[in-house]
Amino acid sequence: MDLSFSQEDIAFRDEVRSYLAENLPKRISDAVRTGAEQTKEMAEEWHAILNRKGWLATTWGVEFGGPGWTPVQKHIFEEECCRAYAPRIVPFGLNMLGPVLQAFGTKEQQDYYLPRILDGTDWWCQGYSEPGAGSDLASLKTRAVRDGDDYVINGQKTWTTLGQHANKIFCLCRTDPAAKQQEGISFILVDLDTPGIEMRPIRLIEGGHEVNEVFFTDVRVPVANLVGEENKGWTIAKFLLTHERTGIAGVGFSMQSLEEVKALARKIRRNGRPLIEDPLFAARIARAEIDLEAMKITNLRMLFKAQQQGAPGPETSILKIKGTVIHQELKDLARRALGPVAAPFPGSMTDGNIMFGPEGTANNAARYFNNRKTSIFGGSNEIQRNILTKTMLEL
């Protein structure tokens, strides 16, 4: 057994690290570090920078413009990006639709859409969930009815992340209501400018706008926008689930958060001494660090296995469950460390001369609440447990 990266991997890590140091604008990493709102422009700017280097579409095949990295290299890249406070890659076009089109799309679809994803012409959002179809996605009701060369779509999608920035949406729609649930669903690409589409913002718990509802009323979409076969959309949805799994443990983000919490606990003074000298708070940090140290290795073990077997197995659900819980705990500590200083509603303190916590901590409470989402979306932690029960425990 050898836990160290190979010489090549270490060289790769150094290359990524120095690239990020030179090319990631400080303006952008500062916004990420402080949890300030990351604008559409920032995401586009960062995507463009990575695209110039050929490092944007890390999950794509080389023939489509991917860098051809091994899973370990992808992992190193993600970890380094977190370390440098690079923005998260907006995944919908790059890590979801891109791989789908490469596996299921026609040559025309690939030639048309893939370059537009890379150069930022299109911003995609994901239209899966509906008000009545969350965990039970296969019960979705949005209908697409064939009419000549068009589908006519009626229904509603919800929780559409960053839909307000998007010009396109990929949807799961019901094309055969008579078939068994999973067998009557199709994967359809929709231009958000099409008449009959209305998008409304949903305000989240902490006050931010990152998700939306999308209403479809007699929306006409060319049949050419179908990806894969009609009524075979569920296969694509399942394929995507495995793709959403790279980096699912969020180890890089947790490492980032752990460093923040430690720095905070050293900086904050309580009753005449640094908070880190409070044994109860120190114990909280230590426990989180122990869990994270184990998670780093669990993550690498599963990565190693995926690299050997060619695909991640069902045990990656463990990464989702424990990874999100560790990250949420660290966000709790970042809020907790501030005590009452975390209380002001973000942006509500207009007197700029009054300092609250250390710089960059004004959003700590908001971030804690916002991050409750990670154990709900992408297959809730309960659904992950159901998957593990079935696949690994065989109960």
Partner: protein, 357 residues
């Protein structure tokens, strides 16, 4: 033994619950709670007329209550409705004024709003660690320092301030108009302020005020614990409703045993929270008040976080939205841990008591 509320307290509880449910529902609450001044003057007056403030003081001080149980009854109702009005400051100030034998008619009628300023940025919870100082000047005193997270400070007329006078915590009265007040709405709704004192004129109320301040803080903690119990009850009931009505996979999600058991765990923690709050309220005027109050705040801190996080998780995405009231209850339940001493602070006080015994 009798765990029933007295008739008077039950009537007060009923009328507060009814009033807040009808006149201060969550959508109105959200309009008030997240924008300065985080206060609805007309509703405040009506709440005072119902007795929400008079209940905080004993009869010989002009009120009709004043015990831990009275505080508990009022704040449980406030918690159920997630009410953002500045009653916490009033409750603590009333305790102090009762000890001083001061006239508190204006406080109890709601005409004058009081806040109590103890915590500071680097000494958020511990009275002994405050650094705000008082100096004699002329026939009076002046105060200098910064008081942080003064609940209700954004609308207070009068602020009762803890400051060091010759090395001991003393109690002063400061007119809000004499201080620099920077108010803000809080993450979980309701307002607070940073109170900046710079040779600010202040009236000395009590030179050796450690005991009186500790008692006021204890009363405030009982209030917060009761508020949490009220908010947890509603959060739990709403979650159960949702488990019964939300269908996935063709059945109400409440049919999934994993969710059933977790809803039971929430219930257990809420009942434990109610019990420790009753205990703390019962001991508020006794010699061991601080110990039981710390036990209550520690347990509530843990239970409230569990209830908040589980309520969100078991709802799924819907409870992540501003629109759905549970999100606001969850914020309140989590954030109140950092008011008047968090779980760790109060745990360490209980631990210190172990050594002493």
């Amino acid at each position: 033994m009798d765990f029933n509320l007295t008739e008077d307290r039950r009537m007060l509880q009923d009328s507060l619950n009814r009033y807040l449910g009808d006149k201060y529902p969550v959508d109105h609450r959200n309009k008030v709670a997240y924008a300065l001044p985080c206060h609805d003057p007309a509703k405040w007056t009506e709440m005072a007329e119902l007795g929400a403030l008079f209940a905080l003081a004993p009869e010989d001080a002009g009120g009709f209550g004043g015990t831990g149980f009275d505080i508990m009854v009022v704040f449980e109702a406030l918690g159920r409705a997630l009410n953002p009005e500045p009653l916490l400051g009033a409750a603590m100030a009333s305790r102090l004024m009762t000890k001083l034998g001061a006239d508190q008619e204006a406080l109890l009628s709601g005409a004058t709003k009081y806040a109590v300023a103890v915590g500071e940025v680097e000494a958020p919870y511990d009275l002994d660690a405050i650094t705000c100082t008082a100096t004699a000047k002329g026939d009076g005193h002046v105060l200098s320092g910064r008081k942080s997270a003064v609940y209700g400070g954004q609308v207070a007329d009068v602020i009762l301030v803890a400051a060091m006078l010759d090395g001991t915590p003393a109690l002063f009265e400061v007119q809000a108009s004499d201080a620099q007040i920077a108010g803000y709405p809080m993450m979980d709704g309701g307002g607070a302020a940073e109170v900046l004192l710079d040779d600010t004129p202040a009236k000395l109320l009590l030179a050796d005020a450690a005991d009186a301040l500790t008692d006021a803080l204890n009363a405030g903690i009982v209030a917060l614990c009761a508020e949490a119990v009220g908010a947890m009850d509603v959060t739990h009931a709403t979650t159960l409703d949702y488990l019964r009505t939300r269908k996935q996979f063709g059945v109400p999600i409440g049919k999934f045993q994993v969710l059933q058991h977790r809803a039971v765990d929430m219930l257990t923690e809420i009942e434990q929270s109610r019990s420790i709050t009753i205990k703390a309220a019962a001991e508020l005027d006794g010699p061991d008040a601080s110990r039981f109050v710390s036990m209550a705040k520690n347990l509530i801190g843990r239970a409230a976080r569990l209830v908040a996080e589980e309520a969100i998780q078991m709802h799924g995405g819907i409870a992540m939205t501003w629109e759905y009231p549970v999100s606001h209850y969850a914020k309140r339940l989590v954030m109140l841990d950092a008011q008047l001493g968090d779980t760790d602070y109060h745990l360490s006080r209980v631990m210190a008591g172990l050594k002493a015994a």
